[in-house]
């Protein structure tokens, strides 16, 4: 990987980006393009690239680069782009604090603690893996229990195998990808156990990671006990009923020395909390305006630190917006303020950004609370008037919905809040020509139409 560790940190940068994953790298380049002359990216890993460096499978970049890349290939393109633009990247450096005056305190292995002033700050710290469910499983606390992403790091960067026979709790994409990875490395995979009645990962991963290798997927099933003294020896698994209560009478044992947890990611927001940014309890990331600005002036955020993205291509798009606005803020040409607040209504878990402007075009990302086939996305005014509707062929919790909002839609709207609802449609018409929007899974041609 090309790296250019700057010799000296400047005292002041127009924009300082915390985190050198895809979000941070895209934001840095966009900030520079928007007029910021000095841009610094700080990452605590020994190189930039973020989580992409360990995601060696293909499936990245169809949207952003029009090619199906591996994670490291995507990362390398972004690092190269940043260096060509003259962005400074410091690796092996951890940001300890960002204060209200946008002073960024960082610690490097080479030169200890340093403080730099920033015209604008972009938070791009990514996410960490959930472990809570593990702590709640009754039983012993032996070695051999890993989050799926940690196992991925051990296998793909260090060539270390977590064990010989693994069970996987949770059917998120990372767990599915790791099931295949372990089998290809000669580790036996006993099965994937999913609490919910539906799989959490993409169908593509169900097929290419599980079906291809005859790995069983047990839906509505969970791990209820962990056994083993020093090392994990087996887990007890049981089916759950419709209220997710395990049916212990039907439990069975799965011998394994390794348990991988693939139960989701949480935005990494220690710095945001230290800075006392407003946090949305639904996303667990900072509340952001349509410029990706947080609740403190000049602090922007993008990528998994704001909300968990399924696809890195969306991270890139969001980060370009954040970087552009941060660059403008730093060079004293900020975008006009927002005048509409978005509320999550029926079936909507969250919407990002949290506020928008009636004068500009926006991409709003939202997630549904439950799978719905054939539904309508509605923008509803406080008085109940429906301002805008869009038919969707389906929505799934694991699949982010994107909504392009043009100023024309909001022209006749003068209120202060808009509610976003996902309403099931009672009588789906036959031969419905409504186009689903999934630009990433079907970049070439869209299904629909042909029966």
């Amino acid at each position: 990987m090309i790296t250019a560790q700057p010799r000296h940190l400047r005292r002041r940068y127009d924009v300082v980006v915390v985190g050198g994953g895809p979000a941070g790298l895209e934001a840095a380049v966009a900030a520079q393009n928007a007029g910021a002359a000095q841009v610094l990216v700080v990452d605590r890993e020994p190189e930039a690239g973020g989580i992409l460096q360990q995601c060696i499978h293909t499936g990245f970049g169809l949207h952003r680069f029009g090619a199906e890349l591996t994670g490291p290939e995507y990362a390398q393109r972004l690092v190269a782009q940043a260096l060509v633009q003259g962005v400074d990247i410091v690796a092996d450096a951890c940001v300890l604090d960002v204060d209200e005056q946008r002073r960024v305190k960082l610690m490097t292995t080479a030169s200890g603690i340093a403080t730099v002033d920033a015209g604008a700050v972009v938070l791009a710290m990514g996410a960490r893996e959930r472990t809570r469910a593990a702590a709640r499983i009754p039983g012993t606390r032996p070695a051999g229990i890993f989050t799926a992403g940690l196992a991925q790091r051990l296998v793909n960067l260090y060539g270390l195998m977590p064990g010989r026979r693994a069970a996987i709790l949770g059917s998120g994409d990372i767990g599915l990808i790791m099931a295949r990875r372990l089998v290809l490395e000669g580790v036996e995979v006993a099965g994937v156990f999913e609490l919910m009645p539906h799989a959490n990962g993409l169908n593509r991963n169900i097929v290419q990671c599980l079906h291809d290798f005859a790995i069983p997927l047990y839906l509505s099933t969970t791990v209820v006990e962990i056994h083993g003294r020093e090392r994990l020896e087996k887990v007890t698994v049981a089916p759950v009923d419709s209220t997710l209560q395990p049916q212990l009478a039907q439990a069975w044992e799965v011998p394994c020395d390794t348990l991988l947890l693939s139960i989701g990611l949480i935005p990494e927001n220690e710095l945001s909390e230290q800075l006392r940014l407003r946090i949305d309890p639904a996303t667990r990331g900072p509340v952001v305006a349509s410029t990706m600005e947080c609740s403190r002036d000049g602090v922007f955020a993008c990528g998994n630190v704001v909300h968990i993205h399924d696809l890195v291509d969306f991270v890139s798009a969001e980060a370009m917006l954040a970087g552009t606005c941060a660059g403008r803020f730093a060079t004293a040409a900020p975008a006009p303020a927002d005048n509409v607040r978005l509320l999550s209504g029926e079936n909507v878990r969250y919407c990002v950004p949290h506020t928008i402007s009636t004068e500009r075009e926006h991409t709003v990302y939202l997630r549904t609370l439950r799978p719905l086939e054939s539904c309508e996305l509605r923008l509803v005014e406080a008085e109940g008037n429906v301002l805008y509707t869009k038919r969707l062929r389906y929505v799934f919790p694991a699949e982010m919905v994107t909504l392009k909002l043009r100023p024309a839609i909001l022209q006749k709207f003068h209120g202060g809040t808009l509610r976003v609802d996902l309403v099931p449609r009672a009588f789906p018409e036959q031969g419905d020509a409504a186009e689903p929007s999934f630009p990433l899974s079907a970049p070439d041609k869209r299904p629909g139409g042909e029966p």
């Binding site: 990987m1 090309i2 790296t3 020994p46 190189e47 460096q53 060696i56 499978h57 293909t58 199906e68 591996t70 994670g71 490291p72 290939e73 990362a75 390398q76 296998v155 793909n156 960067l157 260090y158 060539g159 089998v183 290809l184 490395e185 993409l202 169908n203 593509r204 169900i206 097929v207 290419q208 079906h211 291809d212 062929r393 389906y394 799934f396 694991a398 699949e399 689903p436 999934f438 899974s441 079907a442 041609k445 299904p447 629909g448 139409g449 042909e450 029966p451």
Partner: protein, 125 residues
């Protein structure tokens, strides 16, 4: 003649249609595809039925680099059934940094006509 049905899950979009391919026993190209909602699904079922292809991604050992493993990929997709064997064969490949993205590490892996290339740069250190 008896008909033989194989099931597939379409990966074309999140609807995940359940596809069926029915083939006459001993019959030549005459197959019937069911369960798709669009043309992509039909094409996918036929492709999976006749000649499933997969991209290979794994790692090989690398010396004098930042990490002990180098990610590698096949330049094109390979027949699906070859994937495990290719990964096994790549376990004995050992390279030394520096390596550049796209460097060919194995020219014609297992004689299937596809090259295995480095998926990133890795500088010597």
């Amino acid at each position: 003649m008896t008909a033989h049905t194989t099931h597939y899950l379409c990966i074309g979009c999140p609807l995940g249609c359940r596809l069926e391919v029915e083939e006459e026993e001993g019959g030549q190209a005459e197959v019937e595809v069911r369960g798709f909602s669009c043309r992509r699904g039909r094409d996918y079922a036929l492709q999976e039925h006749r000649a499933p292809q997969r991209m290979v991604t794994t790692t090989v050992a690398i010396d004098h680099a930042l990490w002990p493993r180098l990610p590698v990929r096949s330049q094109q997709p390979v027949p699906r059934q070859l994937v495990p064997e290719i990964c096994r064969a790549l376990r004995s490949v050992h390279v030394v940094a520096p390596v550049m993205l796209g460097d060919v590490l194995v020219e014609n892996v297992l004689g299937c006509g596809v090259a295995i290339v480095a998926a990133r740069d890795m500088a010597a250190c």
